[in-house]
Amino acid sequence: MIRVVIPHHLRTLAQVGKEVELELAGPVTQRSILDALETKYPMLRGTIRDHTTKQRRAFIRFFACGQDLSHESPDAPLPDAVATGTEPFRIIGAMAGG
């Protein structure tokens, strides 16, 4: 069981609470988590990463286990604590000043 924390506006779109749970078969990576998230909640497609290129949107960050993983490869294995559900994978709307 993978735990994913999503930001306020995406909770509203998906009509879910702060944290959602996903079942993953296979490696636990940014890509596999986002693929599963978008399959379960299609209304989130395009809001976290580009529809076509699958690149992370500029003001979205990925945190886990106290680390910023935003610049890691989308296919890099995530920490064991995320894979086991001990720690959530956090999708964050980045600070944008102002």
Binding site: L10, P42, G46
Partner: protein
Amino acid sequence: MSKVRVLVGTRKGAFILNSDEKRAKWDISGPHFAGWEIYHLKGSPADPNRIYASQSTGWFGQIIQRSDDGGRTWEQPGTEPGEPTKTPEGFPMGESNKFVYDASDETGNPLTTHQWYDGTQHPWEFKRVWYLEPSLTDPNTVYAGVEDAALFRTSDGGKTWHELPALREAKGHLWQPGAGGMCLHTILQDPTNPNRLYIAISAAGAFRTDDGGETWKPINQGLKSPYELPDADAEVGHCVHNLAIHPSRPDVVFMQKHWDVMRSDNAGDLWHEISGNLPTDFGFPIAVHAHEPETIYVVPIKSDSEHYPPEGKLRVYRSRTGGNEWEALTNGLPQSDCYVNVLRSAMAVDTLDSCGIYFGTTGGQVYLSPDSGDNWMPIVRDLPAVLSVEVQTLR
């Protein structure tokens, strides 16, 4: 009894203002999509309870919302949870927020480039939907004007969107973004000819199709932009802010340009200036009275470097002669210390017997005149900055 529904897009959500035909007492609902920028929302003329909304933020991008009950409830018209997200061939399904420029060999063109600020060529990049224009006859068909400038259409109620790519062939390589972005912000349908559309793009100009979007031509002859362009009479590059027509005379097109208020009597083939005695001819919106095709409205703004009314006086100007002769409408509007702006999509009219004129400001006020502009009153005073105002007259 008739009713009026005013659809207000703001920097921080959508608001819906409802009244009976007296327009004296208003019910305000919202914010819908709280915290998101709502560039535009507009109802279908063919089914007034069908409303489309463009919702976006810099963080999460573009969302399209649809209501089938007059704005009480909303849905994203894309894939339902549990439905396949890929076609049998393995391609991603279209989505209500998926706006992909058509570069296919079959239907589109290679994704060309437009001019960038440094004079180099730059590829088209989708940013947001500025304007939604529901079909006059089919509630499931809607045109969307987007940034970077292009025109999209849905024919399935907003589930999927497809570009009309021929527009970018109309000298698109010469288009260059203005300060507000390279946005397609105005779409007009000719009610007498379903194959004719007018569109306008900031810092590119006005364009027309007469064959349902298969081909387009720039319609900028007569526009002069000596302060903005090295060639004041260029075929494209003019900063058109807004267009308006009266449905009974769709060949007569009115334009608020960056500077200059213009008019064409031949569907945009040739324009002439009608700024006349306006205190300044810079501004954003332009509107036509519902029952008087020669009565038009603008909101003069001091200049392109000072986006507020001259002398701190918020004045709508009305011409009953199709331009050139203008009168200031001030009764009920602030006449001192007012420094709000009125954006291009933020003025609209109802079609009640006594035509109502509405506009919203960047200060969050929505003003109404129930008598063609003679007297004004605020419906609301403290919304977020208003980006767009549309009015539905419900009978």
